[in-house]
Symmetry: C2
Subunit: 263 residues, 2 copies
């Protein structure tokens, strides 16, 4: 059987490209960065690149292609961004219109692709430090919330920051901050610790995306900036045309996680 956990990224991408692998990518190619995808027409690309530059915690850029290129030269030079993700979402005027396993037919020469860091990577680092992920233990998606923390506007792009939440035992909070601070390209340190109301979250049991998880006695909710932010922003801005990955179906890069750790 094909061992996805220890396979190298190129092999997994090849299987995805051939249509033999259509599942979410969590747990695949351990030790390599996975990324969110956003594809926009060139005339919106400067504004979106500026938006990412101004909002590095929610939109940490891993790679950006030049207009017309579907090859992420820095992140995975043998990849094809039109076919190497298991599932894509196509949005027109801010509305999801199609979900496809290949977007080669939609690709045009004025498109720019953005790869944005994904929290799978820092979760792996937390787990290696003995801090388990409740949503994994409960077999659900991580809970995500729109907050009252505004993103920094750039051109047409503006709107709320989305955060993901993980319950962390009080005695592990310092270590969780240290571990995730090492990885600024996958959202980095938490945005907030402990008081959901302060950042505009009224009910932890009702996430805006993903699923609720249990918070046990002695645990504190810790919030990280989330790569779903661009999708929430787009729902707000309604760009005429945009393609993203489908949630959980990420792009697997050739970049070893440890090479992007700072100190």
């Amino acid at each position: 059987m094909f061992n996805l956990q220890n396979s190298i990224p190129e092999e997994i991408r090849q299987k995805i490209r051939e249509g033999k692998l259509k599942s979410p990518t969590a747990g695949m190619a351990n030790g390599f960065l996975q990324a969110n995808l956003v594809i926009l027409p060139k005339d919106m690309a400067f504004d979106f690149l500026l938006f990412c530059q101004r909002n590095p915690k929610s939109c940490p850029l891993i790679d950006v292609t030049e207009a017309g290129s579907f090859t992420p030269v820095q992140a995975a030079p043998t990849a094809d961004l039109r076919s190497d993700i298991p599932l894509y979402n196509v949005y027109r005027d801010g509305k999801l219109t199609e979900t496809l396993s290949d977007i080669t037919e939609l690709w045009t020469n004025d498109m720019v692709a953005f790869l944005i860091g994904c929290s799978f990577t820092f979760e792996e680092a937390l787990v290696r430090n003995g801090i388990s992920m409740r949503h994994n233990d409960e077999g659900v998606n991580v809970p995500m919330y729109k907050t009252s923390i505004p993103t920094v506007k750039a051109g047409i792009f503006e709107g709320p920051t989305v955060v993901s939440m993980r319950p962390i035992a009080e005695q592990d909070i310092v270590r969780a901050v240290q571990v995730t601070s090492r990885f600024p390209t996958v959202h980095g340190a938490p945005l907030h610790i402990g008081h959901p109301a302060t950042i505009g979250i009224t009910d932890l049991d009702k996430p805006d995306y993903g699923d609720r998880v249990t918070i046990k006695e002695g645990e504190v909710p810790v919030f990280w900036a989330c790569g779903v932010t661009p999708q929430a922003i787009s729902a707000h801005v309604k760009p005429p045309f945009m393609i993203t990955h489908a949630p959980g179906h990420m792009f697997i890069t050739d970049i070893p996680t440890e090479t992007v750790g700072v100190m």
Copy 2:
């Protein structure tokens, strides 16, 4: 007398704007980030923003304005980038044509300004760690060299990486790496330690920019990516129009250095 070392950035910028202060900014407003300036027309801005994103060690972005705006909203919201730098260089077709203390008359609505981190900041951190800067001790400019390390191409922008060199005592090298690694927004960790020939430098006594410095017995040349890279690239690419700061005459931001330190 006006104490420049301990003045707040806004006061210094005000004096520069009024034409009362025209000197290089080294040593002013200790504890605040200083920045390199690059101004380009909007039609080259996406390529240059992409260039910075792909070359974060030589071109770490501190702030980018939207087309037509001369206000660096993140770095210094009360500043005016047309007048708050002591001296500007104007380039046409890659050639330096004017050196001006104010560029208000040249500013148009399609210009985008980029602020890029400056090594003054990490030098301050090294000195605080007991590692003195030879070029300061000898009262000259830091030596800078074009290298054989290529930058990552983005659109029209490509060319060699420029590095600055500081002699570091053998026993201080580890600490120098640690201290500068904390500050990725001002070039971060060294690009190379010890062997100039490996990165295409044939004679340390003949820098391409700045001045030669003495390397003493027991010291090793250590090389950091340098903010002069965009100017070297531009000499190579020859954009029709570009404005930069004049060397040493930097933009002083409101950003406290410690707030951009990682871990």
